[in-house]
Symmetry: C2
Subunit: 664 residues, 2 copies
């Protein structure tokens, strides 16, 4: 607006090479370059404008999303973008749309669960978007418990077809994104029934709409489930409702990689191991962890920049007031979130590696790491999405009143992000799965079966049960070994305590149910340990760039010591550390904040977000917040007229005290 960088002073303070940090954040120079190029391309294209979203009604909003999705696809084709680039483009367009489900769930489901033949038939159509698909699992009455789904797929041997049917109201499909108005096809989950026998839930490719005129096929009732949290936000998506009235599909549209129904109606398992499907889950959840670091870093970028712009109190002799980022309470809320964004980034990177590792092992029929990988991704999905949702809202509060404006970008970011705590597994349900795995691990400790992967610390259970932290001065908490030992012993002791308490119950399932709140806490402790230790491992790598390693070390320590303070009760009640040591950790944390403070703006610049992507006046790169806020206000539809619509009907009669005669 005025061309001046109001945050230049802040940028000059930085004690590290921001460009090098950008590459660390992106994961590689290549990844950085792709991101940088595509994000600027999107930002510069008026076709991808998004600042008008809050003002649009549902129909306009949705139509606008349809336009953007088509336009994005057009640009992808015109520019001959690679798969990687296309995915980045969709990411930077930053608007939930049916394409998310098409590419993120429909295609992977066919890849993961379809036979070679099925893949050859359906994938080319999907890749060219000649069909558009959704993922139809959840029903009105059934979500977390997938095995409880009610939709039926009954084999009719006479016609060699499945009859898909919604027997009850609660069996209506409910939630699938892209289903409501767009998808021509769906992978639909239904109970497979052959010859009167129920074989449980299986996936089927079902055509939903005519490819000629888009009308729903006979027997299909389909629509949108209505508005969701926020303005704009996820309302660009047509989450849908769907009922089947005896809809027939050919037998070969059951996804048959793992189990089949023969022409005669015989149900059979293939020799492909069932576990293969877990691979897809690991994949999807890994992308969710990566998304968590994106969403959190975005909120943190906004709150950090604005905290350096915003001044409040502390004016001396009529000079400017203090920047709110200099208040320790502000730092104590903000910097751990900054550290978390980096922590989630690195654990996400590691999960990508884990996915490759698991996939390779699966191909050689090595299933040994699968339960651990599965538990670990479930837990990390839960812990990172919960922390991110809470963190976005904390960032909004850190911006005071102005954070409540849509132009801050934070309300919509929260509203659009928060379902990540629910979809792909409710976060509490997932932690209970982790806890179940941990209890199994503990129970096998004496048995000679060695705990693998992220549970391998349990191998030193005897040490972890009796060790005592030898931290004596605040600086001792900077040692990775001190942090690791504290987090490992906390996690181990909490799991062991749960396991011991479980033995007091005659019925183990009853015990598990009764102690489930404690079990969830043990699972969280385990997951936090993973994140801390992957951050520490990251620091063992070669990290080029002046001062970059030092900054990351400080952030790693902030992440760990902040958690330690927040969960002090765990560490103290299990006797892993003493009250004195906890207090030293807190002292160290404060001095880490001072260390990060001059680097804060540069640390969020390293995310390399464009102003378009951030979508926030408070977070704009140049920090020129106030003139922009002021200008934006006048664009609200309410300001189209000086005297508001409704004045004559509803305000004037009141002021003039002739309400009685007014028509209301």
């Amino acid at each position: 607006m005025d061309g001046i960088d109001h945050l230049a002073d802040e940028r000059n303070k930085a004690q590290f090479d921001v460009d090098a940090m950008k590459i660390v954040w992106a994961g590689s120079r290549h990844a950085f370059e792709v991101s940088d190029r595509i994000s600027k391309l999107v930002a510069a294209d008026p076709g991808f404008r998004k600042d008008n979203r809050p003002m649009l009604g549902r129909n306009e909003l949705f139509k606008n999303t349809l336009r953007k999705a088509a336009y994005a696809w057009k640009r992808i084709i015109e520019l001959h973008l690679s798969e990687e680039e296309a995915a980045k483009l969709r990411f930077y367009v930053d608007e939930p749309a049916y394409t998310d489900l098409h590419w993120g769930m429909f295609v992977p489901a066919i890849k993961g669960q379809g036979t070679e033949e099925q893949q050859q038939k359906w994938l080319p159509l999907a890749y060219k978007m000649q069909i558009i698909g959704c993922y139809g699992q959840t029903e009105l009455g059934h979500g977390s418990n997938v095995q409880g789904l009610e939709t039926t797929a009954t084999f009719d041997p006479q016609t060699d077809e499945f009859v898909i049917h919604s027997p009850t109201l609660t069996s209506s499909k409910w939630w699938p994104g892209g289903l409501g108005k767009v998808s021509t096809h769906g992978v639909i989950y239904a109970r497979l029934i052959t010859d009167g026998r129920d074989h449980g839930v299986h996936g089927f490719i079902v055509q939903l709409r005519s490819l000629e005129d888009h009308s729903p096929l006979p027997g299909i009732t389909v629509g949108d489930i209505g508005m969701k949290f926020g303005n704009g936000a996820y309302n660009t998506m047509d989450n849908g409702v769907l009922r089947f009235d005896h809809v027939r599909i050919p037998r070969d549209q059951m996804l048959m990689r793992v189990s089949q129904v023969t022409r005669e109606g015989k149900y059979m398992q293939s020799d492909v191991p069932r576990q293969l499907v877990y691979g897809t889950m690991v994949y999807v959840r890994q992308t969710i962890v990566a998304d968590a670091s994106c969403a959190l870093s975005r909120a943190v970028c906004i709150a950090t920049r604005y905290s350096a712009v915003r001044r409040q109190f502390g004016s001396q002799d009529g000079g400017p007031e203090s920047q709110v980022i200099d208040y320790k309470t502000q730092q104590n809320r903000l910097f751990p979130l900054l550290a978390s964004a980096y922590a989630f980034r690195f654990v996400g990177e590691w999960l990508k590696w884990l996915y490759t590792d698991v996939t390779q092992r699966l191909q050689t029929n090595d299933f040994s790491t699968l339960p651990e990988a599965h538990a670990c991704t479930a837990g990390l999905k839960s812990v990172t999405t919960t922390a991110t949702a809470d963190g976005i809202e904390e960032c909004r509060k850190l911006c005071g009143g102005h954070g409540y404006l849509c132009t801050s970008g934070l309300p919509e970011l929260f509203a659009v992000y928060v379902p990540a705590c629910t979809y792909e597994g409710d976060n509490i349900v997932l932690l209970l799965q982790v806890a179940r795995f941990l209890m199994k691990t503990v129970s096998q400790l004496g048995s000679g079966k060695k705990p693998v992967g992220t549970t391998s610390y349990m191998g030193q259970i005897e040490h972890l049960m009796q060790c005592r932290s030898n931290v004596q001065r605040a600086e001792d908490w900077l040692k990775p070994s001190a942090i690791l030992e504290a987090f490992e012993s906390r996690a181990a002791r909490m799991s062991v305590a749960c396991a011991q308490n479980l033995t007091k119950f005659t019925n183990p399932e009853e015990g598990f149910a009764e102690l489930s709140a404690d079990l969830v806490e043990a699972a969280v402790a385990h997951c936090q340990l993973i994140i801390v230790s992957k951050f520490i491992e990251k620091l063992l790598q070669d990290i080029p760039g002046k001062g970059v390693r030092e900054q990351l070390e400080a952030l790693c320590n902030i992440y760990a010591l902040f958690l330690l303070h927040k969960h002090q009760g765990d560490f103290l009640s299990t006797g892993c550390i003493t009250a004195k040591q906890a207090s030293l950790a807190n002292d160290q944390l404060r001095s880490l904040y001072s260390q990060v403070r001059p680097n804060a703006i540069a640390l969020v610049d390293a995310f390399n977000y464009t102003d378009h992507f951030l979508g926030s006046i408070l977070g704009c790169y140049d920090g020129n917040v106030y003139p922009k806020l002021y200008e934006a206000a006048w664009k609200d539809p309410l300001n189209d007229s000086v005297v508001p619509e409704g004045y004559h009907e509803y305000i004037r009669p009141l002021l003039k005290q002739n309400l009685r005669t007014a028509r209301l």
Copy 2:
């Protein structure tokens, strides 16, 4: 819908007299009767329909609010409602509107800060709504630090007027509710300048709009600041921006109760003590605490009823699945919020008493309890609003995917509630004020000055510094004395530890700044003690009704023991309790959950909310959730046509692969 009460079984399980509990919740039989009558009146009147809000664009939404506000006023007059009844009616209409500021801030500001004469002139106009007023304090660049406001009111002795002016962009008024489009007047805060001297910030009554045609008066630029968090939510309110270009007002429109400017331009203090204005603050914050209990109870009511309807997993032999309310993790998240709603209700009730007490003392020039009352209301405002905002969001998550739908009522409840954490004092800034007061209290402990009111426990500081909890069995935690001692010693020790750490700094202000994060924690501990102890005091009163006291005792214990578990680190690090005792508290908590479980539905029925007020399909009284969700979906504007608008332009070209030629 089908006339059946799907929650009848749950209601039959209740072990207490729900009608008696309704009266306890309302505060008195009279309060219950008024609430009950007015809420039903509002619910039955189609003029107050609110389920269409998410679908409306900003202009329609706002116009609809104008209509409702006028209609509400009409009904108030027609029905000859008392002040109490009128306030209840506005409450049950449940839609932020300019009237909130008119009645809640403009009128009280004139009452509190105006002279007798000014009150006589302005209040009758305001009472009849012949003028509509707002509260204009915050500016674009200045919020928390009221003393930093930039708007000026310069006395012109020549004309006997003040010249109100906005010297900078950042001095633009920004946020005042009702300002943007409706208010004819405002209490505007500005720096008083006489004869070149700045006397700091004072309030002025300024007319903003013509009473004839509603156009802004000369020199005034005014408009709406734009969309805020959520859909519907606070977007029914015209929070405004306002700039003054040398606007003149008569001298007698400065609010002169405490200080005056004479005809000659002399600045003078009246003999009315300044402290009187704190009375208003205590009043306003007390209403905020009461609102917290309303908002939280509403969310809890929705989540509790839905948790009894929702079933997931645990089906035995094809029978129905388990109600999710039976899962201990669900109880561990939900029941402490249920207990908090009751706790906030009772502490709010007590604050009402405190306000009366303070007012009476002020009238006899007794200022002794004022600092304590001020700190205590600031702290309770902060702690209850933070817990409520977080609690509403947790209730939303407790409803799984369906909680994300607008028809659950929870997204809008969150969006409309959450600014309570920011307005009337940012919650962190308020806690720092509490901490300051606590440090002062501790520093005076040896001096013979006895701590009063909610800090009187500090009088036994020696005991509290060395006592050890004598809890030996889980049931011992049911004793109020055990709970009180633990909470008192925790709060006292945290304050004393901060005070001791402060002495290590040569500059006390620097120390306060450096330790502010710890100080905030000490302030929270103090406030939680107040809430716990007021709940315990409530139980000392006569409480009629079968089983009512027992339920309240269980809720009080849940509230306290849940906090104890959550803040275990505080209790352990200060040595108030042992790890063993902490674990016993946790065991006791679990058995309290079992005790509350059969009463849960009845405990939320006791709030006596109509389905209209709840505004939630998930929380509807009869529990007939699924058919209602299904029906509501079809009302979304997206479902107006089967094939969506935009199909021909944006979907078909994609499927048909002729995007290149499409106009996008």
